[in-house]
Amino acid sequence: MPKKSYRKAINEAIAQEMRRDTTVVVIGEDVAGGQGGTGEIDAYGGVLGVTKGLIGEFGEDRVIDTPITESGFIGMAAGAACTGLRPVVELMFVDFIGVCFDQIFNQAAKFRYMFGGKARTPLVIRSMIGGGLRAAAQHSQTLHSIFTHVPGLKVVMPSSPYDAKGLLIQAIRDDDPVIFLEHKTLYDIEEDVPDGSYTIPFGEATATREGDDVTIVALSAMVHRANAVADKLAKENISVEVIDPRTTSPFDEHAVLESISRTGRLVIVDEDTPRCSMASDIAALAAERGFSSLTAPVLRVTCPHTPVPFSPTLEDAYMPSAARIETAVRQCLGS
């Protein structure tokens, strides 16, 4: 199977769906780039090149560059979604939800319920999350807990190119609003990704490592750090299971409960601030419905309750590190 990057897998998923279904359109700031300029069209193809080439194949009626006006175009995508199109709209950095949140959480997410089941809103909002690029407080957040909190939204956080393609195709075919969160440090990782189109259902976790001593639930980029820790500890015969939920809403509760029923120990790794986070949400699930399985405190490895700092030394300390994950695992093993 051909190796493809996370970026390429996402681009391919969109292109294949656009070929399959003419109602799929791409909307966002510089998703092509160059409109109104003296140079080339498709000058960017998205700031990080994820949508590059789409305008060439599908034209400017289906790859629509917008002014910098997120409430306007995210809301436009939501309105288009319940009137005949299947927009894949890009919110460049997730940190920008502040200027368009109403159109997402009060409008798109609630139409179906408020209208008594009469609306369908097949909308995909793609957005970049996460730290690591020294992009500072307003360009490095994850904010997935906020979307997960909102009924009516589905939230997807692929950690690998293979999952990214399958989950995005699923998202585009899905009839509900889907928040698709791409971690900006993953775009260049590569793995085998089929050329053909395939879907991965929402709400199905995957175990990236299997083990019996401790369960780690990790999200998005954190899955890779958790895997590294699992591999390291395996050499000491500490058997760590790593679960990647892949979607936080719907969330695969069964997979987590089943794993802790075997391990009795849970560590959650979440690149987010701790309060009212996914880390808390998963810990609460364990304390409520997995309580009888638990043999040790549920430990959360998260970012601190602070904005994301700019300076590299501070940002590195901000992110959940392999070292902190390992410490947590050892702690709940009582070693």
Binding site: I64, G72, A78, G79, T83, P151
Partner: protein, 321 residues
């Protein structure tokens, strides 16, 4: 302008329906039969009906918290609307939405909206769909003078111009956002002048004159269908009642309210058609009786209807989860 006799009769029927509907909602609310908040459209009928008279089910509109009139103007069934406002299972939204969220997509009605400035982005989205589907249909946003100051409205205007969308912004200036007057809350001379600066044709018309609104709409629709993009129409149309049912209206004088009521759009319509000698006023009297009966039936059905079953609490959140 080319409105057929039947269109005029239908226009009157819808204006009358709105008036009677709102008067009855006011009464039922005061009797405690309607939960929550209600914002009445009485006095503004000519704006909504004038704007919708040229539209069909495939044209889209979206409304505000003051949505009953727009729904009726667009052709929604008052039976389902009344039951919805009563919170009953047979309501058009199964009792889940209520007055501020009435919607009927099958009639091209994308919903009332309890967020001021909430609908313009959605409306340009509907316009984008129409443009993509090349169906020659338009999308109309109803926005109040207060909502016209909201950033979402401005962004949508610019975006509609940039993408040449078949969108029409009907800016209903009733002089107040809640208890704050236009002369205070808006720094521009008029909503039309400000909209024009965004790069679209914009006019101010008498929103109590059905014919003036309908004519401005015809031009806006023609422009949209020609692929030239959006237009804005500011309609001056004071409301008869307060901001919400129960509002003591301390912010406006009795005199001002009287003037508004003198400018009754239904009376004006009758006078105008009388002059034009196209429809016999007795036909309008018949409509009055028919509408009164419709409303009565809708209230009886709503009152008798059952509440939603608790089992519906967690349905309709997702198509599939």
């Amino acid at each position: 302008m080319q409105l057929t006799r039947n269109q005029l009769l239908e226009a009157y029927r819808r204006m009358k329906r709105i008036r009677e509907f709102e008067e009855r909602v006011h009464a039922e609310f005061s009797r405690g039969n309607i939960p929550g908040f209600c914002h009445l459209y009485a006095g503004q009928e000519a704006s909504g009906v004038g704007a919708c008279i040229h539209l069909g089910d495939l044209d889209w509109i979206a409304s505000t918290h003051r949505g009953h009139g727009h729904c009726i103007a667009k052709g929604c069934e008052i039976d389902g609307m009344m039951s919805e406002i009563f919170g009953k299972d047979r309501g058009v939204c199964r009792g889940k939405g209520g007055s501020m969220h009435i919607a009927d997509l099958s009639k091209g009605m994308l919903g009332a909206n309890a967020i001021v400035g909430g609908n313009p982005p959605l409306v340009i989205g509907a316009a984008l769909s129409n443009k993509a589907l090349r169906n020659g249909k338009v999308a109309v946003s109803f926005t109040g003078d207060g909502g016209a100051n909201q950033g979402t409205t401005f962004e949508s205007m610019n975006l509609a111009v940039v993408l040449k969308l078949p969108a029409i912004f009907v800016l209903e200036n009733n002089g107040y956002g809640e208890g704050t007057g236009f002369s205070y809350h808006c720094g521009a001379k008029s909503l039309a002048e400000r909209a024009a600066a965004f790069g679209m044709p914009a006019v101010t018309v008498d929103g109590t004159d059905f014919f003036a609104v309908a004519e401005a709409m015809r031009d806006a629709i023609a422009r949209a269908q020609a692929g030239k993009g959006p237009s804005a129409i500011e309609t001056i149309c004071p409301r008869f009642y307060g901001h919400f049912v129960g509002d003591p209206q301390l912010y406006r004088s009795k005199a001002e309210i009287e003037i508004a009521r003198k400018n009754d759009p239904l009376r004006k319509f009758r006078e105008r058609v009388a002059e034009m000698r196209i429809v016999d006023l007795s036909l309008l009297d018949v409509i009055d009786q028919e509408v009164a009966q419709e409303i009565e039936d809708a209230v009886i059905a709503a009152s008798a209807a059952s509440w939603p079953d608790i089992g519906q609490l967690d349905t309709d959140v997702y198509v599939a989860y």
